[in-house]
């Protein structure tokens, strides 16, 4: 066992309002400068939708992440190190600026400086790439709030995979939001793709960074990352990415995106994991088993063996304390309601998600059932307006049972708490039906609902 520490995050999508405050505060703090106008270390996608950059999840097209070959070995999907070196001058899997969007500004000065004319002055758009007038055709968030549209939905790689029929009639509309930062993976394919050794994972906290001095601008990291969370600064010629706000977390502040999240849905916590078992886990044969494999790599900070191992690795008592109080550990491993994004990429991502529950009662009430009855709630989960298959395509490599189990826990929590809310006797059979005790369920409720600042970070 080689105990290592990892800073990680959970986002509760069930609470995400899609406001993009995280994106803007992140952008203002880190990337509002020339060369990275188009880069959003943190972005929020409306799903269904194409994402940013467009269709990045289509690995048949972009070849990011790892694949397990017939011999059970992991390979970068785009080819191993030797092939990478051989093709270093040509990287056909690089997203172009159009796959992100062509950043622009406006001729704002017209408003103040226009000479007396016939019409009211206006500020038309102008490309920040070419300096020429342009028609805005795509943006950092073009499909925002559409819930997909006939023209755009076709490009959603997840929808293309799932069998669920998504009807486009108004009543069947569904949408939710997916905020994304770098996954700071345990098995990062971007790092593995870097021919210059400029990318690295910090040993003390697992944050994945680009050494700005060593980066030679090959951009193999951009194509190697299946989440497309490494960006190329076309001004400096170097790669840049989410830093997990290390200048902040090093002094005890949460990341900008977390602290400014007005949905209060982000949790930051320390995870201990066994570095010796990462490769094994990432090589798990069946994609649907990758979730459990990754959970298994996470170590129990109360386990004496783990504590001893941590001490051996030089992890301090303070850090051990943080690991024990980690909301991420609680949500991922104890309550088991947070799931990894695209475990099938085999990078062992460390930003996890609680899938969205609502709207659930709608589905059953339409059938004339009592929406408050927990048994009905469970039945309804299969009829959710957000198809389970879609969520499973994001969070469990297509295994719907994993997602269903999470949603059942959330639904049970609501039913259990309603009795308490109205002063009735709580029913222990409700948590029991999802394999939880009353205390554990109440703890989970407090972490999800009360979610005090100190509890989130």
């Amino acid at each position: 066992m080689r105990v290592m520490a990892q800073l990680s995050m959970v986002m509760n999508l069930d609470k995400c309002i899609g406001c993009h405050t995280c994106s803007v505060t992140c952008k203002q703090a880190w990337t509002n400068r020339p060369g990275v106008e188009y880069a959003w270390f943190n972005n929020v996608e409306t799903r269904p939708g194409q994402g940013y950059p467009r269709t990045y999840e289509d690995q048949d097209k972009w070849e990011g992440g790892w694949i397990r070959d017939k011999r059970g070995r992991l390979r970068l999907r785009a080819g191993g190190r030797i092939r990478k070196l051989a093709t270093i001058f040509s990287n056909p899997k690089m997203p172009s600026i159009d796959d992100y969007y062509e950043p622009w500004t406006y001729d704002y000065e017209n408003l103040t400086n226009a000479p007396l004319g016939e019409q009211m002055p206006v500020a038309p758009p102008r490309s920040l790439i070419t300096g020429q007038p342009m028609k805005v055709q795509w943006s950092a968030n073009w499909d925002d709030n559409l819930g997909g549209s006939t023209e755009i939905l076709a490009g959603d790689p997840i929808l293309a995979k799932v069998s669920a029929e998504v009807k486009l009639e108004l009543e069947q509309t569904f949408m939710f939001y997916l905020p994304r930062i770098c996954e700071h993976c345990l098995n990062p394919s971007c790092v593995a793709s870097c021919p210059s050794g400029a990318m690295y994972k910090r040993s003390e906290d697992g944050i994945v960074l680009v050494d700005q001095d060593k980066c030679k601008g090959w951009r193999m990291c951009v194509s190697g990352c299946p989440y497309k969370k490494v960006y190329f600064n076309h001004r400096t010629g170097k790669a840049e990415k989410c830093t997990f706000c290390y200048p902040r977390v090093e002094v005890g502040l949460p990341t900008v995106c977390s602290e400014t999240c007005v949905g209060r849905l982000r949790y930051i916590g320390l995870i201990l994991y066994d570095a010796d078992r990462v490769l094994d886990a990432a090589s798990t044969e069946n994609e649907a088993d990758l979730y459990e494999a990754q959970l298994a790599v996470m170590l129990d900070p109360n386990d004496p063996e783990v504590i001893a191992g941590a001490r051996e690795s030089g992890i301090s008592d303070e850090w051990m304390d943080a690991a024990r109080r980690s909301p991420v550990y609680a949500l991922a491993k104890v309550y088991r309601i947070a799931l990894p994004l695209h475990p099938e990429y085999r990078t062992m991502p460390m930003v996890w998600y609680v899938p969205p529950l609502s709207p659930v009662v709608d589905a059953i009430s339409r059938d004339g059932h009592d929406g408050e009855d927990p048994q009905n709630l469970f039945g309804a989960i299969d009829a959710l307006r957000i198809p389970i298959e879609y969520l499973a395509g994001l969070f469990s490599a297509g295994d719907t049972a994993i997602v269903t189990n999470v949603l059942k826990k959330l639904a049970a929590m609501r039913a259990y708490m309603r009795d308490i809310n109205l002063g009735r006797d709580p029913r222990s059979e409700i948590p029991a039906s999802v394999g939880m005790g009353e205390e554990l369920m109440y703890e989970m409720y407090r972490l999800l609902a009360i979610a005090k600042y100190e509890a989130r970070y």
Binding site: G147, T150, A198, D211, Q212, R414, A449
Partner: protein
């Protein structure tokens, strides 16, 4: 997360290697070999599984981001934008430059078992610092070049600014020249001195020539920066100018609130959503419009609270809803009526739910008696039966409605009605204490001996017709004869209105909930709303059950989606009925949560004193905004219908043959609503004339009006003598955002050319009766359009002078909101850059120049001020029964304060105006501070302020506390308000105790020593103190919910009965058939304005669609819609959202350019197609301006308009009712709404080649 230190090792999981067991591994054997032999790059420490290589050092590359993060200081400020966020922010500064902002998280906790307010913010606020150094920033004073040229020439020639200004205004040629240049560029830089001089000269000239009430100021929502608002308003009011209202003008005022509660609006803080156990969001897209508060809604679900969303589209909040009720636009009233039908029939008739019955007996007008009047062989509702009707001739008897005591069957006069509020005999009796009386809800079953046992056929108006015209329902009520008068209770009327049948009553009734033939059943509403009857029944039952079980914790968040319709008040009353009938009002976790536009100015008394300048002169001139713009932008000249088009045949014909302008004039004449200018003469001259005639001014004015020698300006708004002449807009984007009928503003008020107005003037047979009509409609009324802003907007582009304002990160000010219970500060992170100044300093500058010019041109004058009977004053008892009495029609001399407005003579010391502006005046000592009828005297506070701020040494303000800095004004506001000064809160409650005879002071006792200062607010958001200024209580750390004081302390609502009203008996309410909650459909624009029908297509114009302007995700009104970050996260310019079906009809694809055209104007914008939109309706999100990416139109070759280019004002006559109880004027409390949701437009795909 704890902090941690950097260690020097790094891990590099490179790709090479093969696992030790051979089964797993990376890549192939060749890579393994290379790695084992260390041929890959430098020497490293390779892990056993060959997956990782660990290196030491090499972390210098980290420095870049550390440098990027470093900053010199963090300053607390907030955003003074018109939203309800009031979020506290950290502003980061490095090397004297603002770098970025993140949210503060230090709000005081609201308790261990509930979520906290941290963090508060949204993406728009997070993008604010972009403006600081953006290319759209107004850096210097600017003026229209053509105007400056003429002014400078005249100024040099004549040697006097006022004479120079006057000469230009007297020359139609020169005037027209700069009017027509408005909005067309050609702004040039001028100095502050010159800009202030021109502005001051224009004001002085206007006062001297036309009168001070030709000056107007517009600045909305004081709570979002109280000092910046008050600084300008104080300047306008000291001059005698008029401040125009914003809350009603924005159609954010739910007129139902004054009607039902006798209160402007009072709502729960968002933390109280957590207390709800059933939560509906009705026309309120919480994640978008209440972004910092939405988490409470998401989180309360985890307590098991059910969430229901009512919205025509799949809106953002629907994502969170357990049930979605896709109610067709504008038909929400039908759904609410049907839900009310279910609640009444199941919970109050079939069974009598004790919790509900007890509540409605105590707190509502349902048990009160109403007279029935015979009309054509049947009956219609009359007025409330009062003590006066029963022969009581003592004071206030006409304002003491009566009810039946269920124990004795006797008619009794309960405490708490308006008749007890102002009378000497009412002292100690203005309360809801019923003693032993048990109010009877119905006269059904009353004995024949008591006058009961009969029934009557009642006629009621219904409007559920395709074009909304009235038809008559016939339903029976039980009656009782009292003093020879036929009466029943309001509850009896309600059951008749809702169609809830009781055995033995005549009339036509629905046979059950599934009877679609009669209003207002669940089945009846289904074809109207598109929502299934079964869902309506289920939600109504759940809603009521939950209220019963939880003690009234059923809550409805209500929003602009239902408020901003022409008949929004009717819809609101139907929804409020659901809440009141279920005992949910005045509860934590229950009741209405109306969040549209208003931000609660918690220290309201201090702000009102500063803004109204009531420490120097009373009363301030305050104007209903909608009527002001309706008249002065000549929208009334284009009305396509008469006021009685909306009437019921069951009325008294009060609006027969009248144009809406006639109704407005009648309202003004009777003293119901204000209008400015007042007279067709200078009000300063009128004061002099009265003095010369040796007649008291009120009497003089009345006589002159009666004789016709003096005319009300409202009867001739297009007479050049009655035009508004100077308008200042600050903290506002009137012309790019809120101006319903934008193109009418441009063409008629401003007189610029190339507008998009296409409407036809009112046909001769539909023109006003009492209003002067000239064939030519004026173009160019305003002499000076002055704006103060930090960014270029439509308003600044159209202004004659633009002054550069400090941003929200560059000034001292205060912020508060209804959404949270804190006051907190704006603070300057940097000094105002370039030549920008704070609003406070800008008005201070202009005031000083004004006073200098006034010495020669104005001097000290007396001014006749005419203001209507006001709510929360004895004036609201002027018209018993709300019965119209127009002296003009009767031919009598009006009586000021009785049959016409109050007339007051005040002194205007113009040369001393600046000195008054910067000191706290003496009237706070002598007349005290009055809010909502409670007066306190701040003698202690005046001494404290004098000691703290110093006093002025000489001039008009000598010896008075100084308010010559923004910080001093902040502290003065805080010091004069009960919410921020515990002593005044207690004093106010003592006053209330005397009148109510109920214990009240315990709500704020223990806070006497508490003084919240500006410095406190800078340190941290500070919770406010419970005060009689508001209707809820924060005492003991509870969450604020409105009317909890009324419910728990038996303090009356400020209404006729002192209870919440279902029944309104004002003449003008009756005229529209809205005495009781009723469904009124959207206006039929085809019938009223000859627009095409929704869904129809016209060659060349395209498809007719319903045109809605909900609030945008990427802006707060027009603010941020030009912000590069917001544009990059959206579609980069103005858009229209449309359903795929409609897009198919016009052959358009996503992002295609389209043109929308109706009689009001033209828009050019791009299409967003989504199936979340219902067919037949488009969204053009609110406040998309013409400044960003708006091409020239194909329709007329002009620049496309703003979202409000397609709308216009539609004045609802009943909103002009006044003079009676809760239906009396108060500023931003009652007045016609600037509603805009009933509009339709044509839309078509245009050429995709666009020109700018």
């Amino acid at each position: 997360m704890e902090g941690h230190t950097v260690r020097k090792t790094a891990v590099t999981p490179a790709s090479p290697g093969s696992g030790p067991n051979g089964a797993v591994g990376l890549d192939g054997p060749l890579e393994d070999l290379l790695l084992r032999s260390g041929r890959f790059f430098t020497r490293t420490d390779v892990s056993a599984d060959l997956r990782t290589v660990t290196k030491t050092g090499g972390r210098q590359g980290d420095v870049f981001y550390r440098d990027r993060w470093s900053h010199d200081k963090v300053v607390r400020s907030t955003h003074g934008v018109n939203c309800t966020g009031s979020c506290s922010w950290k502003v980061y500064v490095k090397d004297g430059i603002i770098t970025w902002e993140t949210q503060e998280t230090d709000y005081p906790t609201v308790g261990p078992d509930r979520p906290d307010y941290e963090p508060r913010g949204c993406p728009r606020g997070a993008a604010f610092s972009w403006y600081t150094y953006s290319p759209t920033r107004v850096r210097y004073p600017y003026a229209r070049g053509v105007l400056i040229e003429m002014y400078r020439e005249a100024r040099i020639r004549l040697g006097d600014p006022v004479l120079a200004w006057a000469e230009i205004q007297d020359d139609p040629e020169r005037r027209r020249k700069y009017h027509q240049a408005r909005g067309k560029g050609g702004l040039i830089r001028v100095s502050w001195d010159e800009a202030a001089e021109i502005a001051a000269a224009a004001h002085v000239h206007t006062i001297a020539r036309y009168g001070p009430d030709r000056i107007a100021g517009f600045s909305p929502i004081p709570a979002m920066s109280m000092v910046s608002h008050a600084a300008g308003s104080r300047f306008v009011e000291l001059m005698g100018g008029a401040m125009t209202s914003f809350y009603d003008w924005y159609a954010d005022l739910p007129v139902a609130s004054p009607q039902v509660f006798g209160d402007q609006t009072d709502v729960p803080e968002s933390g109280d959503w957590w207390d709800a156990s059933y939560l509906m969001m009705w026309g309120s897209n919480v994640p978008v419009t209440r972004t910092p508060d939405a988490h409470w809604m998401a989180e309360v679900r985890y307590r098991g609270t059910k969430i229901v969303a009512v919205s025509p589209d799949y809106s953002d909040n629907t994502k969170f809803a357990d049930e979605w009720m896709p109610c067709a636009p504008g038909t929400d009233g039908a759904m609410a009526m049907a839900m009310g039908h279910v609640i009444l029939s199941e919970f109050l008739v079939k069974k009598r739910t004790p919790f509900f019955v007890d509540y409605i007996q105590k707190y509502t007008d349902l048990p009160f008696l109403v007279r029935l009047e015979e009309r054509d062989g049947a009956y219609v509702t009359g007025k409330n039966l009062t003590a006066a009707d029963l022969g009581d001739d003592t004071e206030g008897a006409a304002f003491k409605p009566v009810l039946i005591d269920g124990r004795t069957g006797d008619v009794v006069v309960p405490n708490g009605s308006l008749g007890f509020r102002y009378t000497d005999s009412g002292v100690g009796k203005w309360n809801l204490d019923l003693g032993d009386v048990v109010p009877r809800l119905t006269v059904l079953g009353d004995s024949a001996e008591s006058g009961g046992g009969e029934t009557a056929i009642l006629r009621l108006a219904r409007f559920d017709t395709p074009d909304g015209h009235a038809e008559v329902l016939t339903r029976g009520v039980p009656v009782r004869r009292i003093g020879g008068v036929l009466c029943c209770t309001v509850f009896d009327l309600m059951l008749a209105q809702y169609g809830v049948h009781r055995p033995g009553l005549p009339g036509t009734w629905p046979t059950g909930w599934d009877d679609a033939s009669e209003p207002y059943t669940p089945a009846w509403q289904e074809p109207i709303t598109g929502v299934s009857a079964s869902q309506v029944v289920r939600i109504a039952q759940e809603f009521a059950h939950n209220a019963e079980e939880s003690g009234g914790r059923s809550m409805i968040i209500m929003g602009a989606g239902i408020c901003q319709w022409f008949h929004g008040d009717a819809t609101y009353r139907a929804i409020l009925a659901m809440l009141i009938l279920t005992g949910s009002m005045g509860r934590n976790g229950g009741g209405w949560a109306h969040y549209v536009g208003q931000e609660k100015c918690r220290p309201v008394t201090g702000w009102a004193t500063m803004a109204g300048a009531t420490d120097w002169v009373r009363p301030p001139r305050q104007m209903i905004g909608t009527a002001y713009w309706y008249a002065h932008t000549d929208q009334w000249r284009y009305d396509g219908y008469r006021a009685d088009a909306l009437s019921t045949p069951l009325g008294r014909g009060r609006f027969a043959g009248m144009h809406t302008m006639d109704v407005l004039a009648a309202s003004v004449a009777m003293g119901w609503m204000p209008f400015f200018p007042q007279f067709d003469r200078n009000s300063l001259d009128v004061a002099d004339e009265a003095e010369a005639a040796n007649i008291p001014a009120p009497q003089y004015v009345a006589q002159q009006l009666a004789s016709g020698e003096l005319k009300l300006a409202v009867t001739a708004p297009d007479d050049p003598r009655n035009w508004p002449r100077v308008l200042t807009a600050w903290r506002a984007n009137l012309l790019g955002s809120s101006s319903k009928g934008n193109e009418y503003f441009l063409q008629h008020l401003l007189g610029t050319t190339r507008t998009n107005l296409r409407a036809t003037p009112t046909a001769p047979e539909l023109r006003p009766r009492d209003i002067a009509w000239s064939d030519e409609i004026p173009e160019g009324k305003l002499d000076l359009m002055l704006s103060i802003d930090f960014r270029m907007t439509s308003t600044t582009l159209l202004s004659d002078i633009v002054l550069p304002a400090a941003t929200w990160y560059e000034k001292n000010d205060l912020s508060s909101t209804d959404m949270h219970p804190f006051v907190h500060a704006f603070s300057p992170a940097i000094d105002p850059p370039w030549e920008s100044r704070t609003d406070f300093d800008a008005f201070h500058t202009i005031a000083r120049v004004f006073s200098r010019l006034a010495k020669t041109h104005l001097g000290v004058r007396r001014d006749v001020v005419m203001m209507p009977m006001q709510h929360d004053t004895p004036g609201e008892t002027a018209y018993p029964g709300g019965t119209q009495r127009d002296w003009r029609a009767i031919g009598e001399v009006p009586v000021p304060g009785k049959t016409m407005a109050n007339v007051t003579v005040v002194t205007r010391n113009y040369p001393a105006l600046a000195e008054q502006w910067e000191t706290l005046g003496p009237l706070v000592d002598t007349l005290g501070l009055t809010t909502k009828g409670v007066t306190v005297f701040p003698d202690v506070e005046v001494k404290e302020l004098a000691a703290k701020h110093g006093v002025m040494g000489h001039g008009a303000g000598a010896g008075r506390p100084a308010i010559d800095t923004a910080v001093k004004m902040c502290d003065t506001i805080l010091s004069l308000s009960g919410t921020t000064n515990g002593r005044l809160a207690v004093e106010g409650f003592k006053q209330l105790e005397r009148r109510t005879g109920r214990r009240m002071t315990d709500l704020s006792e223990g806070s006497e020593e508490k003084r919240i200062t500006y410095a406190d607010c800078q340190a941290r958001p500070v919770p406010v103190i419970t005060s009689p200024e508001w209707s809820g209580s924060e005492t003991g750390g509870r969450r604020y919910a409105p009317f909890t004081v009324n419910v728990e302390k038996l303090k009356p609502w400020h209404t006729l009965t002192g209870r919440m009203h279902f029944f309104l008996d004002h003449d003008w309410i009756e005229e529209l058939g809205e005495q009781l909650p009723v469904f009124r459909p959207p206006l039929d624009m085809a019938a009223l304005f000859d627009e095409p029908r929704v869904g129809s297509t016209t060659e060349g114009l395209g498809l007719c669609v319903r045109y809605l302007t909900p609030h945008s995700k990427w802006s707060i009104h027009s603010e941020y819609q030009d912000n590069l970050f917001m544009l990059s996260l959206s579609r980069g310019g103005p858009t229209m959202w449309m359903s795929p079906q409609d897009a198919g009809k016009i052959g358009a694809k996503d992002n295609d350019w389209v043109e929308a055209v109706n009689r009001n104007g033209v828009m050019v914008l791009r299409l967003v197609i989504s199936h979340r939109m219902p067919e037949g309706t488009v969204f053009v999100h609110h406040a998309q301006e013409r400044t960003i990416d708006v091409p020239l139109s194909e329709a007329n070759g002009n620049r496309g308009g703003i979202h409000n280019s397609l709308t216009r004002l539609l004045v609802k006559p009943s909103h002009l009712a006044g003079g009676y109880a809760q239906m009396s004027f108060a500023f931003n409390y009652l007045g016609p709404t600037g509603n805009q949701r009933d509009e339709v437009t044509m839309v078509r795909r245009r050429s995709q080649e666009v020109q700018y």
